[in-house]
Symmetry: C2
Subunit: 280 residues, 2 copies
C-alpha cells in the first residue's frame, strides 16, 4: 500500500527479462538481479522520476536451487539499499521453462512534471548523456570477442549506472526523453514517433569513452563503426530533446518538422539495415 | 503515471502465472487473460480496495502466434472494460520456455483503511463469503473427472467472480481478510499466522452451492468430503475475521488466543495431510 503524496504523481515502469533472451544462461544470479533493477531505474531516470519502491514476480525453473535464489535475493537487497528502494512485495512461482523475472518499479515526480517520449518540437536540440557504445562493446567484451584489459567495457554492460543524477536538468529543460536501452538511433526514434517529428542525428558528434574511441580508431570504416556504437543498445544513458543545451548532455542532432530519423556520419547519410536501426 | 489522490492510498498486487503450473497447455488465451485479471481483482477485493488500473508483462513462446496473442489481448480488453480498469502499460518479450504472464493491479482505498491479513483478534468470528468448494470441483469438472450437467462448477473455476461487492462490509467491520485462492483452510491460516492468533474452523457450517452439496451427499465420508472442499482452492471468495457478523458472509468459526488452525467436522478434529492444509 502506497500513501498518496499531494502534489506528486506516481510513475510506474514494468519490465520482464527472460533467460536466453535478455541474459545468457549461467549469468550469476546476483548480477541478473542488479541488471533487472538498474534497467528499470534507467527508465525512471529518463522520466525524471525519483525511485521509490518495487514489486518483483519471479518464475524459477527447478535448475535454480536455494543457493542461486539466495544469491539473487542478496543482489536485489544490496542494490535496493544502494538506490534507497522499498520492496513492496510480489510473487514467486515455479516454471517448467526459462527463468523469468518481472519488475514493477515506482517513482515520484512533482505533479504534471514527468518527462515523456512525446513532446519534442521542431527546432529542439537532440542530446545524449554520458558516452554511447560502451554497452554494445561491453557485451562483445563479456563474450570474449573483444579485448578489454581493464574491464571497463564489460562493467558498463554488466553494471549499468542509471542516470538518476540528470533528474533536475531534465525537469528544468527537456521537452521529451527516453533511456538508451535498444540503441541510440532506435531510442531517439521512439521520441520522434511519439512526438510526431523528424530527427537529424550526427554520429560524428557521438560522445565516446576512451576505450570506445580506441576501438573506433581500429575500425576499417569509421562511419560503419559509429553506426555500430549508435545502434548497439544497453548504454542506459538518456537521449532527450530540449530547446537549449542541458548540463550533462552532448548535442548530437536536432528535431525537424518532418518524420523519420536521418543518420549522418562522415558527411554521408547512412541507411538502416533490413531490421531497421536496432542491431543489438 | 498516476496522480496522487489526497486522502486515498494506492494498493498494489502482483501475480505471475505460468503455463503448465497455473493453467493447462491448450487453455484458450482469452480465458487465460480473464482468469489472470480476476485472480488479481480477487486479491484487491479482499483488501477492500477499488480496482483502478493494471500493467502487464507477457513472455510469449514462439508457439503462440498473432491469433493467439490477439485473443489474449481481446479477453483482457473485455474484462478490463467490464471491471472499469485502465491499462497503464507493460512489457512484451519472447521466451524459449513457457508462456509467463505477470500482472500488477492497482486499486484505491481511503487512507489507512486497507484490510490486511494481520489484525484478527481472539474472540473475532471467522467468516467466509459466497460458497466454498466450487473451484476445486470445477477443476475436476473441467478435466472431465466429474459430472457437471449445467456447467455451473466448471464456470466457477474458469470465470471466477471477484467479490468486489463486499468492499463496504469489509471496510465497515473486518479486522483482517484474505481471498480464498489456495483453499479456505490455507487462506484462513494466512490470516492466523499474520495476526499471531489461532483459529477454530467448523466445516459443518461451510456454505455450499447446490451442486457442491449434491456432490458431498454422494461421498462415502462426509468429513473427508468437506475437507476436500475446504482445501481445494480457486474459490476466489473472501475469508475474514470480524467482531460481529457481516452482510454477505457466513460464520464458519472463531479466532482464538492460541496458534494454528483446528479444523472440526462431524464432531471430530481433522488432521492435515503431509503437505499441510493445501491440497489444490
Amino acid at each position: 500500500v502506497v500513501a498518496s503524496r499531494p502534489g506528486m504523481d506516481l510513475v510506474l515502469t514494468k519490465d520482464a527479462i527472460v533467460e536466453g533472451v535478455h541474459f545468457l544462461p549461467g549469468t550469476p544470479p546476483g548480477q541478473i538481479a542488479r541488471k533487472l533493477l538498474r534497467v528499470n531505474l534507467s527508465d525512471l531516470a529518463a522520466k525524471a522520476a525519483e525511485p521509490y519502491a518495487y514489486l518483483l514476480a519471479a518464475a524459477w525453473p527447478a535448475a535454480y536451487g536455494w543457493p542461486e535464489r539466495q544469491a539473487f535475493a542478496e543482489g536485489l537487497r544490496q542494490d535496493g539499499e544502494a538506490f534507497d528502494l522499498v520492496l513492496l512485495g510480489g510473487d514467486t512461482t515455479s516454471t517448467p521453462g526459462a527463468l523469468t523475472l518481472s519488475l514493477t518499479l515506482l517513482g515520484w515526480v512533482p505533479a504534471g512534471r514527468m518527462v515523456r517520449r512525446a513532446g519534442a518540437r521542431p527546432g529542439d536540440l537532440l542530446m545524449v548523456s554520458g558516452t554511447i557504445g560502451d554497452g554494445a562493446l561491453g557485451l562483445a567484451a563479456a563474450r570474449g570477442e573483444l579485448a578489454d584489459p581493464d574491464g571497463f567495457l564489460a562493467d558498463r554492460y554488466v553494471s549499468p549506472q542509471p542516470r538518476l543524477d540528470l533528474r533536475t536538468a531534465l525537469r528544468a529543460g527537456a521537452h521529451a526523453a527516453c533511456d538508451v536501452s535498444d540503441g541510440l538511433v532506435a531510442d531517439a526514434g521512439h521520441i520522434a514517433r511519439a512526438s510526431g517529428v523528424g530527427l537529424v542525428l550526427r554520429l560524428d558528434g557521438l560522445p565516446l569513452s576512451p576505450p570506445a574511441a580506441r576501438w573506433l580508431d581500429g575500425q576499417p570504416d569509421r562511419a560503419t563503426g559509429l553506426l555500430r556504437l549508435a545502434t548497439g543498445g544497453d548504454d542506459y544513458e538518456v537521449v532527450c530533446a530540449a530547446p537549449a543545451p542541458l548540463a550533462g548532455f552532448t548535442v548530437i542532432g536536432e528535431v525537424t518538422a518532418g518524420q523519420g530519423t536521418q543518420v549522418l556520419a562522415g558527411g554521408r547519410t547512412l541507411e538502416p539495415g533490413p531490421g531497421g536501426w536496432r542491431h543489438g
